[in-house]
Amino acid sequence: MRTVIAFMLGLLLAGGGAQAADAVRVGSKLDSESGLLGTMILQMLEANGIPTENRIQLGPTKIVRSALLAGEIDIYPEYTGNGAFFFNIDSDPVWKNAGAGYEKVRQLDREKNNVVWLKPAPANNTWAIAVRKDVASPNGLASMEDFAKWVSGGGKAKIAASAEFVESPAALPSFQGTYGFTLKPEQILVLAGGDTAATIRAAAEGTSGVNTAMVYGTDGAISALDLVVMADTKGAQMVYEPAPTVRAAVLDKHPKIKDALEPVFASLDAGTLRTLNARISVEGQDVKQVATAYLKSKGFLK
């Protein structure tokens, strides 16, 4: 039995040790925007002569974040607002301000985990409410204030959303509290799984009379499928800006990473990200081609 255990340990050790020694392991979450940003990181590092290992679309947030903290991967794009949940301080109003939220998570992660947050892209990928254009235009809906007035005045909104969006105090309840409106239960269609691709599709196709959808601010499908995002003028939502998060030890070894990535992320505003995301999620283009084409058009790649 002892030899058996020794054999198994040996086997697993051999498996764990079989990694390229020096390469920077680039990860990302499973969704297509994370895949796009991860691919851009990968391509920029390679263009700067840094050896890389592709771990793009590794798993959901919990897995990718634990992988970074465990040293399984070295860099991946994360959203500033998620700091609220990493450090269990989601009631802190700091997350509703882009600059302050970034500073907070940058400091905490550097002190507690030795993880560096590079400068985020000026694109807020937070929860938002989008309405079909053929409903928004005649009713003059452009902001959440318009939407609240319309709903309170008997406007026939019906929203498709995930269970999390409907129940999480930070999501729909925060919108309702901030803008003073209430959606009745029959005005809410909860979609199982509830990713925004499904909710946008429901609104675009009018499934079960749905004309409004839960979306993320940089979803590519929003304009492609003729929806209008209601502007969150009073800041009811936390700010989620994507930024590269990298282990400090790796950044010290390859200081070029910072200069290679920050101009790229600075160029990615919400409109740009929406356009790029639409090419992937709606038109079905290859993530790598979309990333390369963009980086070349901006002169980041030759």
Partner: protein, 380 residues
């Protein structure tokens, strides 16, 4: 007069699906649902002739069963299954020529029912032929080749699932290999622990009374929960001894969880195989002067082998399927492609991950069934 009820039922299902269900779906882009296209709209000559072998399958249920009819049925069914693929691919190409590059053509429910009916008809025919192992391999390989031909010839390139493949061409092969590695890596500890445990459980009843209930309980834990449960202790272990190369995500928890699931069928079939060795045979071997070790190696092992192999078959088929869920803890493999599809609401991307998993399971199943047949005994 219906002579073959299985074929008759399949023919009825196929005709109903062809008439009532959409053969293809045509969507303006990857996100929106498709407009249904019935089989009749795709049947323009000359490619429409691809469904002609179906005529034989409509007649075959009424013919007197025999080897000739069975052989013709296998041939017609495989040709139809391949022809349906060609027809779908060709119609997709036709639709693509006059649409935007973002437009997508996907298989409809009608296609799946027809394809499944054709493949089941082929399996029914092969069963009726009652072939020896060697000709069975030949027929299986021929059928696989005919089905793969339209794919290899690029006939299907305009279908949505292959557009998804084209976007992931350079990671797809890695994902398949990775999937195999996860299963293989779990198989080694499973055999190293499971076989001795099975022998022990059969010899000492007290061991069996503890081992089987425990393994049964493990089997009832949902796979996602087991992967999640392993995350915390493994991460703690990794934190305590960083030098070991352990981590809470990736290959480690996947291999451990798959091993835990795989132990039950292996241990049970090793014990059952040894139970099935008749006591008089053992006594005769002892009487011939064999030592206990010789009795085990030359009597018990050969006689228990077929039962053990069918346990191995169940284990491997189960592991191929479960390994897909391991993508959620970062182990990669074909499951990663499936989950990307689920996240993007892209059903064809889900299929791109799921279809190879099914083919892998079918291949493993066929190979081990063949091994059992070659041993000249039927599994218990």
């Amino acid at each position: 007069m219906i002579r073959n009820r299985v074929l008759f039922a399949l023919a009825v299902a196929a005709v109903a699906a062809a008439a009532a269900l959409p053969f293809l779906g045509f969507a303006p882009n990857r996100l929106l649902s498709g407009r249904p296209i019935p089989l009749s709209a795709a049947l323009d000559p000359p490619w429409g002739l691809a469904v002609l072998p179906g005529v034989w399958l409509l007649a075959a249920p009424f013919l007197r069963p025999g080897r000739g009819v069975a052989l013709a049925t296998v041939g017609a069914a495989v040709l139809l299954a391949s022809g349906l693929l060609v027809l779908a691919g060709h119609h997709a190409a036709q639709l693509a020529s006059s649409a935007s590059p973002a437009a997508r053509t996907s298989f409809g429910s009608g296609f799946w029912v027809l394809e499944a009916a054709a493949l089941l008809a082929a399996l029914d025919g092969i069963r009726r032929l009652e072939l020896a192992p060697a000709p069975r391999i030949a027929v299986g390989a021929g059928a696989a080749l005919l089905l793969a031909a339209p794919l290899l010839a690029g006939q299907l390139d305009q279908l949505s699932i292959l557009k998804e493949y084209a976007n992931r061409r350079d990671v797809f092969a890695d994902a398949v290999v990775r999937h195999g590695v996860i299963v293989a890596a779990a198989l080694v500890p499973t055999l190293v622990v499971g076989v001795p445990l099975g022998v022990l459980a059969q010899r000492r009843r007290a061991v069996g009374r503890v081992v089987f209930p425990v393994l049964n309980i493990v089997q009832t834990i949902p796979s996602i929960a087991l992967f999640g449960l392993l995350l915390a202790p493994l991460s703690a272990l990794a934190g305590a001894w960083p030098g070991l190369g352990i981590s809470g995500v990736g290959l480690w928890p996947a291999v451990i969880a798959l091993t835990l699931y795989s132990l039950l069928p292996i241990v049970r079939n090793v014990a059952a195989g040894l139970d099935g060795v008749p006591a008089p045979v053992r006594q005769a071997a002892r009487g011939m002067g064999m030592t206990p070790a010789q009795v085990f190696l030359r009597v018990d092992v050969p006689l228990a082998l077929p039962v053990f192999l069918s346990g191995l078959r169940i284990t491997l088929v189960q592991a191929v399927g479960l390994a897909a869920v391991a993508a959620l803890i970062g182990a990669g493999g074909l499951g990663a492609i499936m989950f990307q599809g689920l996240f993007a609401n892209a059903l064809d991307l889900v299929l791109l991950g799921a279809v190879p998993v099914i083919l892998l399971a079918v291949a493993v199943d066929g190979a081990l069934r063949l091994a059992v047949a070659l041993l000249g005994r039927s599994p218990a």
